[in-house]
């Protein structure tokens, strides 16, 4: 590379590289915590780009969005400004796994988020390509842009998404590129490699966008939004959104389409071996589905609008790396797409990521001070996962500079805690997606109580506004008051009351019973028993929901709390970061190596490292106990 002439362009506390979902939350958190912050993106038109699907939320992911909101992040507020359809998933299951998922107007999502960044005090928004992070004695000093600008700073958050050495694959064709026609970031990748970073290749893919007028919707099943719209942000609870929701459509692939795919498999770079990157298993390309589920005669395809001001439609379920001509041929075999017109082709993109086990749970590099990583570069997938990491990285960058205690959420406190603990503890071989099954304590980690769990924490670090904090406190109080009241309301076994119960298919009562205990019955609910409760105060839907959930699931929640206590015990058994595991006899060789690589901060974290078995943990526990006894003995002597 030609030597470039550099100049000092400015001084910041925190510089965020990339303005995708991770970068945005990082920059806003840092700026809102009072630090002079700059966010730089390669293209201001790609801020908050929803480069793949046009939805936010879903199982597990919806929980993350609520948690980001409770901590004072922006994602929930922004999607509330720009959604065009809203659905609560899993309503037939328990409240802990209800998951909000909405369709976004992509353009609007971008425009609204750009406004937020532009209007944020303490935040500078800048277009440019950062090609190096400047270090001195393993500490961040600044960044260098492609045009020679040097910005001095105290901390850097790298949120490079799929841009870092991005390479797009469409059949036999492939070329260096960022997502959706953007430039890739190659020089920064070179610079990181030069610093000794081990970069690995990951891959993701997206389906074609097709013209609305070329689709025959009469052959498809319409998927409307929910009648009752529930917002993502706790600040918008009870607000009347009054929008006309856009429907999605469900259709299916055909055997004929599968045949075309099978015939052309050899032309997919995934199967010819040209792509080294590992893609997510749970978000397979259509080729993968046909190969892995060969006996399935058809697969679901959802047609989703990309926005109100566009005729582009997203074809969910048909991402592909087959050549463009094959794509055109096979999409026509999807029911209702016989005359389909492409607007953008499907492609796969391969990009650089680090192995996140080199990070602390603050997302700071273990050895390089004030260098943070967030989003896809850490091996995650998804907008929500990225945003959650961005928030934590931004918060901790700010706290580091302020000289304050780090902010870490553990697995029992938040999905964010689960996400980050998994990323920095387990070697993720494929892009990591949040799922509710990854959260051990999900009965207590509900999306509906994220504010009750986290807002106070957000307030303490200075990210949550007075207004939000006050509302949460009021909500908490209202819930507790109502729970107490319900315990005191006695229902007598009168004929009238028992007739009412029998009408609801519930057994009559023989002696007086509190309303609280009555609500526990599976067939009854809080709202259903209004008639028996004339003095009931008027409460917001979200409060009623909390009250009902707390009562109905009290027993299960208690059990989960006991599991959490057990979990905390191991989490509180701290491990010295300088401990040499080769010295501990009895550990398997694999465990020694993994423990030395990752240097977990507690026995709990150690137990989650793959390759560390329960008997290794027993050995560790015994080692710690013996050490404790020895130390105690020394003190006594």
């Amino acid at each position: 590379m030609k030597e470039i002439k550099t100049f000092i362009a400015g001084d910041y506390d925190v510089i965020v590289v990339g303005a995708g979902h991770a970068g945005i939350e990082a920059a806003l958190a840092s700026a809102r915590m009072g630090l002079n912050t700059m966010i730089m993106t390669m293209n201001l038109d790609s801020i908050a780009a929803l480069s793949c699907n046009p939805n936010i939320g879903g199982t597990g992911k919806g929980h993350l969005v609520r948690e980001i909101d409770a901590l004072g992040g922006e994602m929930a507020l922004n999607i509330d400004r720009s959604f065009i359809q809203s659905r609560m998933l899993n309503t037939s299951k328990g409240p802990a796994v209800h998951s909000l998922r909405v369709q976004a107007d992509k353009k609007k999502y971008h425009i609204e988020m750009k406004k937020v960044l532009e209007n944020e005090p303490n935040l500078t928004l800048r277009q440019g390509e950062i090609i190096d992070v400047l270090l001195e004695n393993d500490e961040v000093k600044g960044v260098l842009t492609r045009t020679g600008a040097v910005y001095n700073c105290k901390a850097v958050v790298l949120a490079t998404g799929t841009y870092l050495r991005g390479r797009v694959f469409i059949g036999e064709v492939n070329y260096e590129s960022g997502p959706d026609g953007m430039f890739p970031s190659i020089l920064l990748s070179d610079a990181l490699k030069e610093k000794g970073f081990k970069l690995r290749r990951l891959k993701t893919g997206t389906p074609a966008r097709v013209h609305r007028d070329s689709i025959d919707f009469s052959k498809m099943e319409i998927q409307p939004g929910d009648e009752e719209v529930i917002p993502f942000s706790f600040l918008n609870m009870g607000k009347d959104f009054n929008i006309k929701q856009e429907p999605c459509y469900l259709t299916y692939t055909t055997e004929k389409m599968h045949e075309i795919i099978r015939k052309n498999l050899h032309r997919s770079p995934m199967y010819s071996g040209e792509i080294d990157g590992v893609g997510p298993r749970y978000c397979p390309s259509i080729e993968d589905k046909i190969v892995r589920f060969a006996d399935k005669p058809k697969h679901q395809v959802f047609i989703e609008p990309e926005g109100l001001d566009t005729k582009e439609m997203y074809v969910q379920g048909v991402s592909s790396t087959l050549p463009e001509e094959v794509q055109l041929e096979m999409y026509k075999e999807i029911i209702g797409l016989e005359n389909v017109k492409f607007m953008r082709s499907a492609y796969a993109i391969e990009y650089d990521a680090i192995d996140a086990t080199i990070l602390k749970r603050t997302l700071e590099h273990k050895e390089i001070k004030n260098l943070f990583f967030a989003g896809q570069i850490n091996g995650s997938s998804g907008y929500e996962e990225a945003a959650a990491q961005g928030l934590i990285a931004g918060i901790n960058a700010a706290l580091n500079i302020k000289g304050e205690e780090p902010f870490i959420l553990d697995r029992s406190e938040a999905y964010i805690g689960v996400l980050i603990d998994d990323l920095v503890t387990k070697e993720t071989k494929e892009p990591y997606r949040m799922m509710t099954s990854r959260a051990e304590y999900r009965l207590t980690l509900r999306q509906d109580n994220a504010d009750l769990r986290l807002t106070e924490k957000g307030y303490k670090i200075g990210l949550v506004s007075e207004e939000r904090y006050r509302r949460t406190l009021e909500k908490k109080e209202a819930i507790e008051k109502e729970l107490e009241r319900l315990k005191k309301v006695q229902i007598n076994p009168t004929k009238e009351n028992n007739d009412f119960l029998e009408n609801l298919n519930s057994t009559p009562i023989k002696s007086p019973m509190s309303l609280y205990d009555l609500i526990k019955r599976p067939e009854l609910g809080y709202d259903m028993l209004q008639v028996l409760d004339p003095n009931r105060p008027e409460l917001l839907r979200e409060i009623r929901l909390q009250v009902e959930t707390e009562i109905k699931y009290e027993g299960y929640i208690k059990k989960q709390m006991m599991q959490i206590e057990q979990f905390k015990k191991l989490e509180n058994k701290k491990l010295d970061p300088d401990l040499d595991y080769n010295e501990i006899k009895g550990l398997s060789n694999e465990a020694k190596q993994k423990l030395n690589d990752i240097k977990p901060d507690s026995v709990g974290q150690a137990s989650r490292i793959s390759g560390v078995s329960p008997s290794d943990i027993n050995v560790l526990l015994i080692y710690l106990e013996l050490k404790r006894r020895e130390e105690r003995k020394e003190v006594n002597e």
């Binding site: 199982t59 597990g60 998933l89 899993n90 299951k93 328990g94 409240p95 802990a96 796994v97 998951s99 749970y282 697969h299 679901q300 959802f302 799922m435 509710t436 099954s437 999900r442 009965l443 599976p522 699931y553 299960y556 059990k559 989960q560 599991q563 057990q566 015990k569 191991l570 006899k585 009895g586 550990l587 398997s588 137990s607 329960p614 008997s615 290794d616 943990i617 027993n618 050995v619 526990l621 015994i622 106990e625 013996l626 006894r629």
Partner: protein, 457 residues
């Protein structure tokens, strides 16, 4: 630290084995051993038997003629380097070899320490290590065999089978929750119920073995009851004479209670003989009866002895009251003397209990009693799981917790409680079972390890 101990029973025997384990095993062996052909033991001799002599080099004395085997770790019992010296049996020779080994740098092993090392070094899982401890303490062949089965992993395997069913249930629940929009089949309550019942049945079957397992481990708590001079002592002596007494154990705290261990065809009997009743002639009657009652509470089996040659007294009726609701065998003793009442009369007041007529003094009926005890032990479904028998209290407790959790889940399944709530109990059940095999890490396991293996004391 390298440890050493005599690994065979002390007593007259053909050979005795001194075992050494630790990093200095080979070095110590070479200090005390001189081969017939081999100059010095080294790695190339690992797991081969070498013939030679144990020599006290300080006093230039020959101690014994031996076979020696060096075993290079980690593929040994303790995973450490080990040496076994096969000496001539008898107390003197083995003792001398051990002394010499200790003098040359080894430390005397604590009881169970080889096993402790095997466990700590990952050679045995917790349940296997517990089995070894039980084997060492085994009181009869039968209990030894049970522990051996556990060592081979019979419990772990059974537990793993049950956990696999649970894991599959949990996975189905998870998929249904995490992928609501995919066209996969959601788990149904019927499917969950079917699997939960299977889990419940398996746990219950294992628990059924626990009583027998406890007996194999600790002995069948047996109390002989009867007023003075009905023949209790003679009965005890008769049983002791015919069967090998294992231990005679007189706890210092209460002089009144005597325990004898007897082995009846592999079933260990722990006979508690209440001296309180035996010697009450000049002690207040009440004390004896109270003590008897207390002991009876803890008994697995009561043998109540009555004298058929005398009229039944108030004391007899009190004993009848005590044993009425207990597992018991009734002996009507002294049938060789003129009878004062009939068996059928006695049956009418005692109810549905087995009555054996005996004359212990002339050895009539004692064999029938022994057979009855055996029948009692082997009755029911207990025999089904002849390989996986729960002998350990910790295992039993965990199984009971697991049963409670699966029952709760089953209740909830029947009430159509949301699947994510049901899963809490399924996971708890899965973890309870994991604590038996050591697949789940729990604080109490640590306590157990420290209690059982005397670590760090």
């Amino acid at each position: 630290m390298t440890i050493a101990a005599i690994s065979t029973a002390v007593g007259e025997a053909g050979i005795g084995i001194v075992r050494i384990s630790g990093s200095k095993s080979l070095e110590i062996a070479n200090k005390v051993f001189k081969g017939n052909k081999v100059e010095e033991l080294n790695v190339s001799h690992s797991k081969r038997l070498v013939y030679g002599y144990i020599i006290d080099r300080e006093n230039h004395k020959l101690v014994d003629e031996v076979l020696i085997s060096f075993m290079k770790g980690p593929y040994t019992y303790t995973r450490e380097d080990m040496v076994e010296i096969y000496c001539h049996g008898g107390i003197i020779s083995v003792r001398k070899v051990l002394d010499l080994v200790l003098k040359n740098g080894a430390r005397l092993a604590e009881p169970g320490e080889f096993t402790k090392r095997a466990f700590l070094n990952g050679r045995l899982d917790l349940s296997q290590a517990e089995a070894v401890i039980d084997m060492i303490r085994a009181k009869t062949d039968k209990s030894f065999e049970t522990s051996l089965n556990q060592l081979e992993g019979s419990i772990s395997n059974k537990i793993k089978e049950i956990r696999d069913i649970l894991l599959e249930m949990i996975a189905h629940v998870e998929v249904s929750i995490d992928f609501p929009d995919e066209d996969i089949e959601e788990v149904t309550y019927d499917e969950l119920e079917e699997s939960a019942i299977k889990v419940k049945d398996e746990i219950e079957k294992l628990l059924l073995t626990a009583d027998r397992g406890k007996i194999l481990r600790d002995g069948l708590n047996t109390v002989i009851l009867g007023k003075p001079n009905v023949g209790k002592s003679s009965l005890l002596n008769a049983i002791l004479r015919e069967n090998r007494a294992i231990v005679t154990d007189i706890p210092g705290t209460t002089r009144d209670i005597i325990e004898e261990y007897v082995n009846i065809d592999g079933i260990p009997l722990r006979i508690i003989d209440t001296a309180g009743i035996r010697d009450t002639e000049d002690i207040v009657e009440q004390i004896g009866v109270n003590k008897a009652k207390e002991t009876v509470e803890k008994a697995d089996l009561i043998i109540a002895v009555f004298d058929i040659s005398r009229e039944l007294t108030d004391e007899d009726y009190e004993i009848i009251d005590i044993v009425k609701d207990k597992k018991s065998i009734i002996l009507l003793n002294k049938i060789d003397l003129p009878n004062k009442f009939t068996k059928s009369y006695f049956q009418s007041i005692i109810g549905d209990k087995q009555i054996i007529e005996t004359s212990i003094a002339s050895k009539v009926g004692v064999d029938i009693l022994e057979k009855s005890i055996k029948d009692l032990f082997y009755s029911g479904e207990v025999e089904i799981y002849s390989d996986a028998v729960i002998t350990n209290v910790r295992h039993k407790n965990q199984l009971e917790k697991a049963l409670e959790n699966i029952n709760q889940a089953l209740d909830d399944i029947k009430n159509y409680v949301p699947i994510d709530c049901i899963e809490v109990d399924l996971k708890n059940c899965w973890e309870n079972l994991g604590e038996i095999s050591g697949d789940t890490i729990g604080e109490d396991i640590l306590d157990k390890i420290f209690a059982e293996f005397c670590i760090g004391k």
